[in-house]
């Protein structure tokens, strides 16, 4: 089972690296991405990169973009390029195919995020370090790792369910965008709330312990991630995938 999952991961990452038909093209795209997100952006903040909560938000949301760019392709792409049926006719088990694709998307999204975070630390130390080691407070470092992992789990779980049901990659991407837009609708509605509610919410937030809040949000995300994995497993049926 583990070997089969690894086989799928190998194939998925291979395809990602062969982006636009050439291994070199895929590598250059990745280098540009890592250069901007991992080096350029942290250098813009300088030493302050380690003293604000911005990196948690930045690295927490980065997998959102990275994972969503590949997970839509996972099944819809195979279907569109007529490779899905051959894959399903192989000896690979359902779970190996499904989880292999999810993990590959997470390796890409979370792995690149971690690489960007490390490169950011190295770049800032090289430019602003002057002999002393600059680093995130441990809690922030842990927050970055956990939030990016949980967000990539959430995006890959939801994305794979959408991709399983989509005929084309384009359709999967559109559905994905709509789903995330729907998730953020409550944020857009915030300014429309009565003024007293704003004051009440601010008062509550001021009293909050952000560490406890972070743990609570992480726990909720973890439960949601597991739920999405279970839902994806239930949705994965070879006959439905062929007939959809």
């Amino acid at each position: 089972m583990i070997t089969d999952i690894y086989t799928i991961i190998w194939k998925e990452l291979r395809e990602l690296l062969y982006l636009r038909g050439r291994m070199r093209g895929g590598r250059i795209s990745l280098l540009v991405l890592v250069g901007i997100l991992g080096i350029f952006m942290p250098l813009q903040s300088g030493k302050e990169w380690f003293t604000t909560a911005l990196p948690v938000l930045f690295y927490g949301l980065l997998p959102f973009t990275l994972v969503s760019s590949v997970i839509a392709d996972s099944f819809a792409g195979e279907r569109e390029r007529h490779t899905l049926e051959t894959l399903l006719a192989s000896r690979l088990a359902d779970t190996a195919i499904l989880y292999g694709k999810i993990i590959a998307a997470q390796i890409f999204g979370w792995g690149l995020t971690m690489l960007c975070a490390v490169l950011g630390v190295v770049a800032i130390n090289l430019v602003y370090g002057r002999g002393e080691l600059l680093f995130f407070p441990l809690m922030v470092a842990f927050g970055i790792m956990a939030s990016s992992l949980l967000v990539s789990g959430f995006v890959s779980g939801l994305g794979v369910i959408i991709s399983l049901r989509s005929t084309t990659v384009r359709q999967a991407q559109q559905t994905f965008s709509i789903a995330f837009f729907a998730l953020f609708i409550p944020l857009f509605a915030l300014p429309l709330l009565p003024q007293e509610w704003h004051k009440g919410a601010t008062a509550v937030l001021e009293k909050l312990d952000f560490v406890s809040l972070g743990i609570a949000v992480a726990a909720i995300l973890l439960v949601v991630d597991i739920g999405l994995l279970v839902a994806a497993r239930l949705r994965f049926r070879r006959d439905r995938l062929i007939l959809d």
Partner: protein, 310 residues
Amino acid sequence: MNGIAIQTTNLSRDFLKLRALDNLTIEVPVGQIFGLLGPNGAGKTTTIRLLLGLLSPSQGKAVVLGYDTHNAADQIRHRSGSLLEHHGLYERMSAEDNLEFYARAWHIPAEQKRRRIQELLQSLNLWERRKEIIVEWSRGMRQKLAVARTLLHRPRLVFLDEPTAGLDPVAAAALRYDLATLAETEGVTIFLTTHNLIEAQKLCHQVAVIRQGRLLALGSPDTLCNYRRLQRIIVSGRGFDETLLTDLRQQPGIATAQIRNSHLEIDLTTETSTAPLISWLVQCGVVVEEVYKEKASLEDVFMALMKEEV
């Protein structure tokens, strides 16, 4: 398994109100090449999907390599290889990586994998181009690579959906030879669908003709040709015209009659005696120079079956 690789009993599949496969009952012995023939939409692809356990039957059952498709489809897929309607290759990957992926999927040991990939790619004249991304390859080259992928893990049963489609005549003949050798020397059972009736006649030990999901005929190509009692008479000479053809078609025992390349071709549907027919032609003013009988081909039988059904 008892020497039977594939056994279906009243195998049926419905898609909403459409019956795609209707009570198909066949047996394919181990080591045979079995051809499933039929027009587009006849149910050929559905049959392969059912036999691979990719679809569940609405009715009936199928046992493949001794395993029931309903509850042991993974065992069937483990022991078989398939080249389906589409070649199923990853076009953004190289030829070698495509084979590498499926070799890993079948857990082929590293050294054996390397030798097998080399052996297959060399036999198909693709070895020199193994590092190329296949997106720019011709259809024929991709089809060859797909065949290599299908045979990579030396399966006991191979499903091939139109295997020679897109191949040039030389490559198609070579593939036919390879398939025949595979069945003969290694006892591999081959289940193929094809529109190429000449290919089916040359290659298959047994063929089944289906239309709208129903089995119309089953047997060896020779048996089918004899069973339909079709025979063709070719008459060389002069005096063939449309009036003669019209009169000829009204004679008893005549299926079709046509003029082709200055010869008169007459298909007989029953055991019509040839001599009275030739006498009748002479009486009609035809100058007969040569008459010979041609055995009906599988294509003739197929066309006759299709007409009967219409």
